[in-house]
């Protein structure tokens, strides 16, 4: 088992390193022209220089603050809406098809509508990010509350808890593994919504910087900021996945 695991891990590392090495060689030997892509090592250096010079700090802060706001909105609103729909089965039945079809609709097409409503700026981006993330949270909140064992509901009755305390003290922790899945998805979707918004039309942000670098033929900035964004996303996503797995293991499969 252990041997097999290391073998898989080694092969995986080899695949990833091999891919980067191949890219590096192709770029260095000009099979991929410099105008298309600069070698990965140069991208890392470019990112380092951008970070040291501090010229992109305001853009990075802009994106991070907006993303956090969108994530907070989608998690808090998503949880309460999910809990409310879970409490009223009739409303839930009515909304269910809408919720399950939500991500089949390119939600991003509403961004122009949001720009008209909020103007170009922070609010439109945050609203876009929240719109992307909230439904994942609603759906996973409902799934989580569905899976709360009956014995916990009975315990709440025995203890005569009010509905609110019952929700927050017993069902919220019992549904935690699914809520974390919701949080993970809400984070991923919010980032997509915000970065895509910055790409299309915005005043600042990492996405705006990348799009600007592209229009300016400034490949060092473009690829450097791209690398930064990919690193941020992978670290956050990896951390949340790890947390999710641990919770699922701890609470077992119910």
């Amino acid at each position: 088992m252990n041997l097999r695991l290391t073998k898989v891990g080694l092969a995986r590392t080899a695949v990833v390193i091999g891919a980067f090495a191949a890219l590096e060689i192709l770029c260095r030997t000009a099979v991929i022209p410099r105008a298309t892509m600069i070698p990965p090592t140069e991208i890392a250096v470019a990112l380092w220089q951008i970070l040291v010079s501090g010229k992109a700090n305001s853009d990075i802060a802009f994106t991070i603050v907006n993303t956090l706001a969108a994530i907070a909105l989608s998690i808090v609103l998503g949880f309460w809406l999910g809990a409310a729909l879970h409490a009223v089965p009739r409303a839930r039945r009515a909304f269910e098809p809408l919720l399950s079809a939500y991500y089949a609709v390119p939600v991003f097409i509403f961004y122009p509508v949001l720009i008209v409503a909020f103007g170009v700026g922070r609010s439109a981006l945050i609203a876009m990010g929240a719109m992307f993330g909230i439904v994942a949270m609603i759906v996973n909140t409902m799934i989580g509350l569905d899976r709360v064992p009956r014995v916990i509901a009975k315990t709440a009755t025995v203890m005569r808890l009010s509905p609110l305390r019952r929700l927050l003290l017993l069902r919220l922790p019992a549904a935690a593994p699914h809520l974390v899945t919701g949080v993970k998805l809400a984070v991923a979707y919010s980032v997509i919504g915000i970065v895509a918004g910055e790409f299309i039309l915005a005043t600042a942000g990492i996405g705006k910087r990348i799009a600007f670098g592209y229009q300016d033929f400034d490949n060092r900035t473009m690829y450097g900021m791209l690398l930064l964004l990919l690193i941020l996303v992978m670290v956050v996503n990896g951390g949340l996945s790890h947390w999710e797995k641990r919770l699922h293991r701890r609470f077992g499969q119910q």
């Binding site: 105008a35 791209l226 996945s241």
Partner: protein, 245 residues
């Protein structure tokens, strides 16, 4: 079944009412009236410009779906049949799937130029990964007893795939295809919004720049209905296949 249908109607009516109220509250230069929007949508459908854009989006969407689904299924099948390759590739696929692909569009543009090919390529990198992941899991999750039965019956490899593996895996693969098609449409539209010279997304960004609110709402409504129609169609297909299987 009946009361549920009424619920759907109530939902639609409530949605229209909220829209109308919002329109009355904030005015026509922010939210256009539902009736005006519907009329504009109908007149768009009658015009030639709209169909020119729709054809441009449709062609890119069609090609991207074909390439994404075929490529994703082949990749998923290859990775699903070998346990080792699957274990190696699983987290890599998951990571690639989770990155916001919009950031990769400039690279696609640098490679393919501002063209139909770039749009298709961008749609493909959206759709191929969910299809590959679902296909891989579907093939890996075929119950061992099914495979053993095929072996006990001494089926040829071809017969095993056609009569045992495919029926067992296809419902799950179809779920992947449904998601793949949805994100491919998202990819094509984002590509058109960011940089293109034709297509529905391009018409939408042009309307935004002209601040033509009623056009924005009408186009958004048409896209919304199109996406819902595709999703419903795929859901029905999926349900039928599941019943048959």
């Amino acid at each position: 079944m009946k009361p549920q249908n009424y619920d759907g109607l109530f939902l639609a009516a409530g949605f229209l009412a909220c829209w109308e109220i919002l329109h009355l509250l904030v005015g026509a230069d922010v939210v256009s009236a539902p009736a005006d929007t519907l009329l504009r949508a109908v007149s768009l459908l009658k015009g030639r410009n709209f169909w020119h854009d729709a054809a441009s989006t449709g062609i890119a969407f069609g090609y991207a779906c074909l390439i994404g689904i075929a490529g994703g299924m082949l990749l998923g099948l290859a990775l699903g049949l070998s346990r080792f390759a699957g274990d190696v590739a699983d987290p890599i696929l998951g990571t690639v799937y989770s990155i916001p692909k919009i950031t990769l569009y400039p690279i696609i543009l640098l490679i393919f130029g501002l063209s139909l090919t770039a749009k298709i390529a961008f749609g493909v990198i959206h759709g191929i990964f969910p299809v590959a992941i679902f296909t891989m899991n579907a093939v890996r999750n075929v119950a061992p007893v099914h495979r053993r039965t095929a072996k006990a019956l001494r089926l040829s490899p071809m017969a095993t795939v056609v009569t045992v593996l495919a029926p067992a895996a296809i419902p799950e693969i179809l779920s992947g295809i449904r998601i793949g098609i949805a994100v491919t449409l998202l990819g094509i539209l984002i590509a058109e919004l960011f940089a293109s010279s034709s297509g529905i997304g391009f018409a939408l960004i042009r309307a935004t720049e002209l601040h033509s609110v009623v056009d924005i709402f009408a186009l958004t409504l048409l896209l919304f209905l199109f996406a819902v129609a595709i999703n419903t169609l795929l859901h029905l297909t999926e349900r039928r296949v599941r019943h048959d299987a």
